[in-house]
């Protein structure tokens, strides 16, 4: 049977991708950030999964205001890196896992989560930056990826509790897939940041630190943070943290924290990262 072994939380700041693509990772500005991911890459070399279920948000790339799915699952064979206005990132094409994706789709919809099914989609930095951070710059990504896009562009996104419960449904679906696969689930975006208006640049280290602590030990308390609380405390784009709760909902109640990293700033954003393992 498929086995969910670990969850990863990871910000997806576009400037991080640009730094890697333009060979700037050795710049003093970026060195501390990439150092924080060195243990992650070592861990990943020992724990490369067969499939990553990758939760992210599209940034007005694949979805305009013409269609705005709250939850969209990518069921295609492959997903091309999108041209976000300055040409596609020079990273490998993302290979999907249509069999597992379809299985999860059917199972999760039958658990009352009405997913939008996507069979053709380009993926933007929200998805490719975490892959770059965890895997570096390989010729091909070392595993299959199921993209799972969450609307956090038009208010309201799904609630934290809805996301957490969805994570639990995704876990049940993975557990019931009849193939011997090592699966990881990644929740991306966050942490505190605000990209718009006179309050742009907001960072709340206290909020972020508590969020990271409780993500490990008491995730259910995080499901009670309201949208307005996220915006007020963690900035208008800090609301992306609901995506981390899908990841956490899929893991065991008790997890082992393997690695934690927090850094300010990457461009306008507080970068948070964590690796959590299920008990073996």
């Amino acid at each position: 049977m498929a086995k969910l072994t670990a969850g990863i939380a990871c910000s997806h700041v576009p400037a991080i991708g640009a730094a890697m693509d333009l060979g700037k990772t050795g710049d003093p500005y970026w060195v501390p950030l990439f150092q924080g991911f060195e243990p992650s890459r070592r861990w990943m070399a020992q724990n490369t999964p067969d499939v990553v279920f990758l939760i992210y948000n599209d940034h007005a790339t694949a979805f305009s205001l013409d269609m705005i799915p709250t939850f969209a699952i990518g069921c295609a064979d492959e997903f091309k890196p999108a041209d976000e206005g300055w040409g596609p990132r020079p990273v490998p094409v993302v290979k999907g896992h249509p069999e597992l994706a379809s299985h999860i789709t059917q199972s999760v919809i039958q658990s009352d989560f009405d997913l939008t099914i996507v069979n053709r989609m380009d993926v933007d930095h929200g998805l490719t930056v975490p892959l770059s951070l965890m895997f570096g710059q390989p010729q091909a990504w070392p595993c299959k990826v199921i993209p799972f896009a969450v609307n956090v562009v038009q208010y309201p996104p799904p609630s934290g509790n809805r996301c957490y419960q969805l994570g639990r449904a995704i876990r049940r679906a993975i557990d019931s897939f009849d193939a011997n696969l090592n699966v990881q689930i990644w929740g991306t975006g966050g942490m505190s940041h605000q990209l718009q208006g006179p309050r742009a640049g907001l960072i709340n280290k206290e909020f972020d630190a508590r969020f990271l602590d409780q993500l490990v030990t008491d995730p259910e308390s995080l499901t009670r943070i309201s949208h307005v609380q996220y915006i007020r405390e963690a900035g208008s784009e800090g609301i992306e943290l609901v995506m981390w709760l899908i990841m956490r909902g899929a893991l065991d109640a008790k997890v082992r924290e393997v690695h934690r990293f927090y850094h300010v700033p990457a461009s306008n954003t507080a970068v948070g990262h964590m690796i959590l393992e299920n008990a073996r």
Binding site: A15, H59, G85, G197, G201, I203, F207, V264, P265, S267
Partner: protein, 131 residues
């Protein structure tokens, strides 16, 4: 009964909700069109003429011409869509963020290096205990 909007009092922050999304649909669709290189070329060649192809209000068009992102947000622009405009100008997110705060890009970058705008500066109330 009208919708509850408990986010209207958050300082310096506009929440892109259903009403603004409706108001900004054509503005954001114009922004989205700049994803294509031919459209970027046509827009750069004659901004006003390109804008006139879209069902935008005159205020929205003026906002684009002036690159007044705070005004565009009030008029229904969403930051991820507006990003297509400053990307077309070859400007970074940090450039646009600095502009919206009224700071120079240097001062804004310095603030971020020093840990960003604190919640106190940003007018956020103190984080309540999560129970």
């Amino acid at each position: 009964m009208s919708l509850e909007k408990p986010y209207l009092d958050i300082p310096g922050t506009t929440v892109f909700d259903a009403d603004l999304a409706r108001k900004g649909y054509h503005l954001n669709s114009f922004c989205m069109s700049l994803m294509e290189v031919d459209n970027r070329r046509r827009f750069k060649a004659n901004e006003r003429a390109y804008l006139d192809e879209w069902q935008m209000t005159e205020d929205q068009k003026q906002g684009v011409l002036a690159r007044d992102y705070n005004r565009l947000i009030e008029l229904g622009g969403n930051i991820y869509f507006l990003a297509k405009i400053f990307a077309t100008d070859g400007k970074s997110f940090q450039h646009a963020a600095a502009l919206m705060t009224g700071m120079s890009q240097e001062a804004y970058a310095e603030m971020m290096l020093n840990g960003g705008r604190s919640p106190e500066q940003g007018g956020a109330c103190k984080a309540p205990e999560i129970k």
